[in-house]
Amino acid sequence: MNTVTASASRPLIQLQGITKIYGAGDAEVRALRGIDMDVNAGEFVAIMGPSGSGKSTAMNILGFLDKPTAGHYFFGGAAVDHLSRDQLALLRRSFLGFVFQGYNLLARTSALDNVELPLIYQGMAGTKRRQLAREALAKVGLAGREDHYPSQLSGGQQQRVAIARAIVTNPDVILADEPTGNLDTARSHEIMDLLTGLNRNDGITILMVTHEPDMAEYADRMVHFLDGRIESDNKNKKVAGDAV
């Protein structure tokens, strides 16, 4: 596991007064209006809230895909506000894994090649890459499906490939924006079990956006967004109780 050089006292992720404004003038949209949030290493956080409340916007900023209009973001104790595009790409490559609602796999590309993708950009050699990709696919229960194309896999299986791609680099954090949004209930619970396992067994910090309270129950903390602000931020008592 990559270790972020952080002082033990500081949280892995710190958002301070994060604001995001799209457009200008009459067309101005204030997607985030001052978000303060700390996430410690090893936490599993569910982000909930009505449509348009700014959840995806926050996830994009957390994932170094977008920059806030104002506020500060510390990752592993270091400010990332002024990093260049390429520096942010290097951070994504080393510390983050993404899981999207729509899977976002490369079409006409085998499951194995999809999972290898982040390793290619890390400059890893072919044999090592394939070995790690096979291991990741086995971990998500897709051993034997390496040569399948996305079009030959079910939605649940495609999302597993996406999770394999997210974990193949041994990330510190997985950012999942509605990972079960396109799946039926049974498939959704399978994906949640998989993510929970990664959180509990591998210590991967997970931030997950979801609309479904059932899925949020898997997390040990629930953050509610409303109109670009955090409305509530609670420990999940049920999970905490289960754990005892």
């Binding site: 994009n60 994932g63 895909l65 977008d66 595009r85 390429d86 790409a89 290097l90 994504r92 490559r93 080393s94 993404f98 999207f100 976002n104 796999l105 490369l106 079409a107 006409r108 993708l117 982040p118 290619i120 950009y121 890390q122 400059g123 791609r165 680099t169």
Partner: protein, 404 residues
């Protein structure tokens, strides 16, 4: 990383094989044109040089007429013609001249049996064979007596021999040149085509006396061949001949020559000059088609980048840097145009081969130009692939992921 980029590029190109083929057509045509042109151009230059050496680099030709006229121009009506005395004077009075020979030519029909063949009949003497360094294939040259009396003996060039006699021996046979009947005493060795594209073997030699009496009806000599002694420059020989001829023709110090001395080198450089001008012009046309080809590649790469916006978003999300995405698309453009370049090189060489066969000149492929074409198509890929690749690299990952 580069290896990965090449692998990805080939994948992407093969995925749209037909579209890729249409895209590189401009490059293919441009490169093929350049290669074919240079190959044929080089072949004809080689041919001219080979011809000049068969004609003899030490050979000068003297004709009456204004110097500004080319070697093919007719004799000016007012200028005095040359005579046998001029031939002898050039040979005997100029030390740098080894041998001089007269030459009067006319196109005539040669008849043997029921075969008619139109050829060039040249009236000359044995010195012609020496001057042009032309050996006999069979039979003999003219006897002194035949030359003196102008009897009807003739020596056949190889083409004429073949047309009239096929595989049979012509020696001793009588052929008709219009109304004159003449006996074949010898045949010439094969000489091949000249730089002017004419067949040098398409010739019948008869004694100049016979030509003057029975064909032209006057004592004129229309051209003199003079071969310069080895070790002496043609420039020196030319100057000597010009000096003598000015004296003999009584041309004042401020008057222009009324005769012409041609040097084979001069003729060959004129011909190669024409070839290189043509090659240059056609190369310009080829350059334009390479430009068009490059624009085609830019266009298709822009289409490809737009089509693959989502793919680019995914690559950026998993941590591709700008330069990695740029490299991928740049390599794709380069591979695309190199494929075009390679097809063009193969096609160009094939056309060059065909062209040289048709023009019966040597096939002279030039390694430098092949390499240059290859590098140039890579350059086209870089130049025209850079803008689309940069567009891909600069994409906003979020917008790219949201695409479609």
């Amino acid at each position: 990383m580069l290896y990965e980029a090449i692998r990805l590029a080939l994948q992407a190109i093969l995925r749209n094989a037909f579209r890729s083929f249409l895209t590189v057509l401009g490059i293919v045509i441009g490169v093929a044109a350049v290669i074919a042109m240079v190959t044929v151009g080089q072949g004809s230059t080689d041919q001219v040089e080979a011809d000049v050496s068969t004609l003899g680099t030490n050979l000068l030709m003297i004709r009456p007429g204004q110097p500004s006229r080319g070697p093919g121009s007719g004799v000016g009506g007012s200028t005095a013609s040359l005579t046998m005395k001029d031939v002898d004077a050039i040979e005997q009075q100029i030390a740098s001249v080894a041998v001089a020979a007269p030459s009067n030519s006319r196109s005539m029909t040669a008849i043997f049996g029921n075969v008619n063949y139109t050829t060039t009949v040249t009236g000359t003497d044995n010195r012609y064979l020496t001057a042009r360094d032309w050996a006999l294939g069979s039979g003999r040259s003219f006897y002194e007596s035949e030359q003196r009396t102008g009897s009807s003996a003739c020596i056949l060039g190889d083409t004429v021999r073949q047309k009239l006699f096929g595989n049979g021996s012509p020696l001793g046979a009588s052929i008709r040149l219009k109304q004159i009947s003449c006996r074949v005493i010898g045949t010439l060795e094969v000489k091949g085509a000249s730089s002017f594209g004419t067949d040098q073997d398409d010739i019948v030699l008869i004694p100049i006396k016979a030509f003057q009496r029975r064909i032209s009806g006057n004592q004129d000599v229309s051209m003199i061949f003079a071969s310069i002694r080895t070790g002496i420059s043609t420039e020196k020989g030319k100057a000597d001949i010009e000096g003598l001829m000015r004296e003999r023709r009584r041309i004042g110090p401020f008057e222009e020559d009324d005769f012409n001395v041609f040097d084979m080198k001069q003729i060959s450089s004129m011909l190669t000059g024409i070839t290189s001008v043509l090659t240059g012009l056609l190369s310009a046309v080829a350059a334009v088609s390479l430009l068009v080809g490059g624009i085609g590649i830019m266009n298709i790469m822009l289409v490809s980048v737009t089509e693959r916006t989502r793919e680019i978003g995914i690559r950026l999300a998993v941590g591709a840097t700008e330069s990695q995405v740029l490299l991928q698309f740049l390599v794709e453009a380069i591979v695309l145009s190199l494929i075009g370049g390679l097809i063009g090189i193969v096609l160009g060489l094939a056309l060059g081969l065909l062209g040289s066969r048709l023009l019966s000149i040597p096939f002279a492929p030039d390694a430098t130009i092949v390499l240059a074409a290859f590098l140039f198509s890579a350059l086209v890929g870089i130049l025209f692939g850079y803008f689309p690749a940069r567009r891909a690299a600069r994409m906003d990952p979020i917008e790219a992921l949201r695409h479609q």
